[in-house]
């Protein structure tokens, strides 16, 4: 098997700057087909940006990005939309359409892209709702759902077009333990039963390690460590250990970069008004 059929996504030396600040620096990684890959790392290291790049919502400054054999940055609008039909994405807040009920939210991609007769549409939707356990909630509006339910509905919507790849952006954030366990179970189950590739971007280490076949840890715009869950957990790197064990200070500093504290503190402007900030 060559690497293209083995890996659904290949990133090589990807570089991205935003507002003059480098977000990703020479990032290279591969997402194996049919597996659950977790991308972990502290907030603000470009994990969500990575998903936006894969989905073609952002263009890298340089580097190669292949998804299912297609170079995403070079795709035209129509080709990109065709590719996105084969992708599902679960946004952090669900991104459900607030003026449609659960049923219509899930029907949305089908109504936009297919001309299936209503009975077929109904069966497809009910099957997906049954998968996420919310068949009984189909007439509820998004504002009547709990955080966990919103994410399950969004998940049903993400898989309704039977995508090859599903991207999860912080699927566990802000959920109670039961809802977290449900989402963990669903990601595993969907990956297996629907034979999809899953990318889970998260900073919830415990959940990520529980479900991932392969883990990438990002930091400072690069891959700090990669391997199976066990390999990551046994990593000897200080920055990886700091993150996994949740230590407040370490290689990732507690303080945001700033001038010397005392100089800053006594820079009252009483003596030199020009220099006060």
């Amino acid at each position: 098997m060559n690497s293209e059929t083995e890996n659904i996504i290949t990133l090589t030396d990807l570089h991205l700057k935003r507002a003059g600040k480098p977000i990703l620096i020479d990032l290279s990684l591969r997402i194996p087909r049919g597996k659950v890959t977790a991308v972990i790392g502290p907030s603000g290291v470009g994990k969500t940006t990575l998903l936006e790049l894969i989905g073609g919502r952002l263009r890298p400054d340089s580097g190669y990005l292949l998804v299912d054999g297609l170079s995403v940055p070079d795709l035209g609008r129509r080709e990109l939309f065709e590719l996105r039909k084969r992708m599902g994405m679960l946004f952090q807040d669900g991104a459900l359409l607030s003026d449609l009920d659960v049923y219509e939210n899930i029907a949305f991609p089908l109504r936009e892209h297919t001309r299936l007769p209503e009975p077929v549409l109904r069966q497809l939707i009910l099957m997906k709702l049954e998968l996420v356990g919310l068949r009984g909630a189909r007439w509820l509006m998004p504002d009547e759902l709990s955080g966990g339910m919103i994410r399950r509905v969004a998940l049903a919507r993400a898989i309704v077009m039977d995508p090859k790849l599903v991207m999860y952006d912080e699927p566990f954030t802000g959920l109670d333990p039961i809802s977290k366990a449900i989402i963990v179970r669903l990601i595993k189950k969907l990956n297996k039963t629907l034979a999809i590739t899953s990318i889970v971007v998260t900073h919830d280490v415990a959940e990520a390690i529980q479900i991932a076949d392969f883990v990438y840890m990002l930091g400072e715009g690069r891959v700090l460590a990669s391997g199976t869950a066990d390999e990551i957990q046994n990593s000897a790197r200080d920055d990886v250990r700091q993150f996994l064990q949740g230590q407040a200070d370490g290689p990732v500093p507690f303080h945001y970069a700033a001038d010397d504290y005392f100089t800053d503190l006594f820079n009252t402007g009483l003596f030199n008004k020009d220099k006060q900030i």
């Binding site: 919502r57 065709e82 996105r84 807040d93 459900l96 359409l97």
Partner: protein, 257 residues
Amino acid sequence: MISTVRSIGVFSLAVLAASGRACILLIQMLGNIPASVRRYELLVEQLYHVGVLTLPIIIVSALFVGMVLALQGYNTLVDFDAESSLGLLVALSLTRELGPVLAGLLFAGRAGAALTAEIGLMKATEQLAGMEMMAVDPVRRVLLPRFLAGVISVPLLAALFTAVGILSGYLLGVNVLGIDQGVYWSAMQEGVDFQQDVLNGLFKSLVFGALISLLAVFMGYDARPTPAGVGTATTQTVVLASLLVLAVDFSLTSIMF
């Protein structure tokens, strides 16, 4: 001094850049019109939200405006023994100016603000991003039906405003002020020209409809995705749309009449 000049420059550049983005959005929307014909039900739904729901405010305002026009017109005309021209005065003011302008202003306040807030909020809650990731173009699915609904609604609302205003002027003029009803209508029939007055008035309202709707959808789409950003965008839509209607009305009037 330098900083003042600089801030004027920064402001002008920002306005120019925003106008450029609005033009690109307009071109994108126009290019999507053929593809959106298949989904005409989206347009019908927006015609209801944008047009039909604006009807009450248009009709009630037109009732009052027509009556005020008749009252003020009568009080002035009667001094010159010219009260027979009341019908003409009411009709001309409404068809040429007040109908299109007031309907435009009311539309900007009622529907324009709602459109900006709705689209801005959809952006802030990632609903538009979600659509993009589902391979659905938000410009075609969300913005275009709302824009077209505005372009279609405003001329109809303006025509209705004019008609209701003329009728309420009639009710007050004939029933309360005692003007002969035949005189009211015949003065209008003689003095109002279909092409010169009625069509030009309708054309004006079409231009206002396009301007307000473009501004409203653009402001929502371009809003910063925060609560404050959506609030500012909504206010700006109403303020800018109102000013634009008045300024463009002056330009059109000076060309047409």
